[in-house]
């Protein structure tokens, strides 16, 4: 006889159309893997071309889904996958990052004689993970996406097997990454427990026993939002939210959870560093924002008491404010004293996570009408950061040469007039990272800060602007070193290979386009409000 009970299984609403981008990219990843296995090392171009084609097809599918993001019910697979502008705009950012990384890594793979096919496969799977993080409407789905991303990235960080720094970077990333995943998972478990409801379960063997009542929580983000006020154990909810915040804080490298970043970014191969600073960080933001904005929204209570939802909302918003200030300040101040370019850019990436967090705080405080704008501003900021950061790292890759030998700031002495193309583009990216007007970085900062001002966060914006002033020192410092210092050692200008030239042209064009005409992009990003909010009833 059968004494087991189960919550009645609901048939999943199957909708392959909603998953089309992820499906296309997964299939591409498998195909690239097989091509690599069956053709050997002889042709490096084939897997790169295939990857680019797959990414382009995925981008096409994403754009094709764009109009249907406005539809009424755009959730499927038992509410696990959601279709909204936030997902699609983040997906586009990931695809751009992945495509540029393929192009940047082409030259590096050739220098070091690395198995290109494996690298491209891992990159594609990491991208699929990022996309699932953005499209998951369920904590479990987001966690799975995160793990798909992380495991691929751990391997990529240690891709130069014979280099001790690369090994160290990979191991550190693995240990601290698993540590933060554990936090996240514990947070998910606590939230599940805190949102427990009584569910009547039917006995499976018909007529065996009467109905039993069991407790079941939820990991679905929309369902959590509906239950925050009437959970059985409110303190658990706070603990769970705190754990989730720590987990995501690790992933986006926000202070005080940033300690792994410099070592990992310095040791990893430069193209991988470029990818890690742009892609996984944006994916972390996608999941972070979806979970906190949509699962723990401001929920007013009907009675006199302040509701659990409102308290929770205040608590995480306050914590996020502190996180943003710390992240900006630590990133910028520590970047001042760095002597290694990759390390400096690592701290700069921490600082930029702080600026993006300013927009996140604004999105958290905003009502649902303004929330879309704030989210779009953050996505725009991350897109701008991805473009200029990848551009900068492309130049760093070329100057570092095989084995990442020349990555000290000293190595950049006086190269300005000998290789004008490289140093001028690097200067443009540095100025954009700094936020000089007419560049993408400026437009991103303006949008994020104006959203924060609109929600009344004066001091946050003041601190942000002060931090930008601090960052002038190290961004301009590198430009000064390149143009106004004497070269002490011999410098042979490297030949710029075609793939890297393409990257530089694309990123320069992107920085200038986003800096001059941001309107089109930002309008596309905020097309409609996130669907899970509108479905809150």
């Amino acid at each position: 006889m059968n004494l087991s009970f189960a919550i009645p299984l609901s048939a999943p609403d199957v909708n392959f159309r909603l998953l089309l981008p992820e499906l296309i990219l997964s299939v591409t990843g498998v195909v690239v893997m097989l091509v690599d296995a069956f053709t050997g090392r002889s042709q490096r171009r084939a897997t790169a071309t295939l990857s680019l084609a797959g990414l382009a097809a995925t981008a096409w599918a994403t754009l094709w889904l764009w109009p249907s993001a406005q539809g009424a019910d755009t959730r499927a697979w038992g509410g696990m996958i959601v279709l909204d502008p936030m997902r699609l705009s983040f997906t586009l950012v990931f695809l751009i990052v992945a495509a540029l990384t393929v192009l940047i890594s082409a030259i590096w793979v050739e220098w070091e004689g690395l198995p290109a096919g494996e690298f491209h496969t891992l990159l594609l799977f990491a991208t699929v993970g990022m996309m699932l993080m953005a499209s998951g409407n369920d904590l479990v789905m987001i966690f799975l996406g995160l793990e798909i991303l992380s495991i691929a990235t751990y391997v990529m960080a240690g891709f130069r097997k014979n280099d001790l720094r690369s090994n160290e970077s990979s191991l550190k990333y693995f240990i601290l990454g698993s540590f933060s995943s554990a936090f996240l998972l514990y947070g998910i478990a606590l939230v599940y427990g805190a949102t427990a409801h009584e569910v009547s379960a039917q006995p499976q063997a018909s007529g065996a026993l009467a109905q039993h009542v069991i407790l079941a929580g939820t990991t679905n983000i929309s369902a959590i939002a509906e239950r925050v006020n009437d959970g059985l154990y409110p303190p658990l909810l706070f603990a769970g939210a705190a754990m989730l915040m720590i987990g995501f804080g690790f992933k986006i490298a926000s202070a005080p959870f940033h300690v792994w970043t410099p070592d990992v970014y310095e040791g990893a191969p430069t193209p991988v560093t470029a990818f890690m600073a742009a892609g996984p960080k944006a994916a972390g933001f996608a999941a972070f924002m979806r979970v906190f904005l949509l699962a723990f929204p401001f929920v007013a209570a009907s009675g006199q008491m302040r509701s659990t939802g409102a308290q929770l909302h205040d608590a995480w918003l306050g914590a996020l404010w502190i996180l943003a200030v710390l992240t900006m300040t630590v990133g910028n101040v520590v970047a001042l004293v760095q002597t290694n370019v990759k390390r400096m850019l690592a701290y700069s990436s921490i600082a930029h996570a702080g600026y993006a967090l300013v927009g996140f705080v604004a999105a958290g405080a905003a009502d649902s009408a303004h929330q879309t704008d704030a989210v779009a501003a953050v996505v725009f900021y991350l897109l701008a950061y991805a473009v200029m950061n990848l551009g900068a790292f492309a130049v760093v890759t070329l100057i570092a040469r095989s084995g990442d030998r020349r990555t000290d700031i000293e190595d950049y002495r006086g190269i300005g007039f000998d290789s004008p193309a490289l140093s001028l583009t690097l200067s443009l990216f540095l100025l954009s990272l700094l936020g000089v007007p007419l560049t993408a970085g400026f437009m991103g900062k303006v949008m994020v800060f104006s959203q924060a001002l609109g929600e009344g966060y004066k001091w946050l914006v003041v601190i942000g602007v002060l931090n930008t002033a601090i960052s002038v020192y190290y961004y301009l410092g590198l430009i000064v070193v390149m143009f106004f210092r004497e070269r002490t050692t011999e410098w042979r200008a490297p030949r710029i290979p075609t793939t890297l030239a393409v990257v530089l042209v694309l990123t320069v064009a992107g920085v200038i386009y986003l800096g001059l005409f941001p309107g089109r992009v930002i309008n596309a990003f905020r097309a409609v409000q996130p669907i899970a909010v509108s479905s809150l009833r």
């Binding site: 006889m1 299984l9 048939a11 199957v14 498998v30 893997m33 097989l34 296995a37 069956f38």
Partner: protein, 160 residues
């Protein structure tokens, strides 16, 4: 409530499992070739030297094999719950049988792709080198054994 006959399938499972293990050992005893080399007659210790220092280095291949094992272990872990709920999805007006079947076959096919990949990457290609290593190890073992015997013989001779 307790009914011993409910546990008959478990007993059957035990019998099959024991029979499978014992049957294989017996079968290889009866049918297989017997070339008693030095290495082969050693007590079996998962491919390691059974007597010696615990701080021994061992081949990284063990890790790879362990990882592949996990690959197919996971496959099984997913297959069992799938098989349990399959019927309830295929019937009862849901008509999801085809979809669920195809999905699982896709999953299995993906793991198969992984398998093909590792074969192509030469993971099981231990071949010539591994055999040479094993033979060298066998020779070394035989030599130490012979030396020990010789020494023993010498001491007994001296004592006598």
């Amino acid at each position: 409530m307790f009914n011993l006959s409910d546990y008959l399938p478990i007993v059957l499972m035990f019998i099959v499992a024991i029979g499978f293990a014992a049957g294989n050992v017996l079968l290889s005893q009866l049918v297989g070739q017997h070339k008693a080399t030095r290495t082969k007659t050693m007590p079996y210790e998962c491919g390691k030297d059974p007597v010696g220092n615990a701080h021994e280095r061992f081949s990284v291949k063990f890790y790879l094999i362990a990882m592949i094992f996990i690959l197919f272990d996971i496959e099984l872990i997913f297959l069992i719950p799938w098989a349990v709920v399959f019927k309830s999805f295929a019937t009862a007006g849901r008509d999801l049988g085809t979809l669920i079947y195809v999905e699982m076959m896709l999953f299995v096919a993906l793991l198969l792709v992984g398998y093909v990949y590792i074969i192509r990457k030469g993971l099981f290609d231990w071949g010539e080198r591994a055999r040479l290593e094993a033979e060298a190890e066998g020779r070394a073992l035989a030599e130490t054994e012979a030396r020990r015997r010789a020494m023993q013989a010498a001491t007994t001779a001296r004592a006598a």
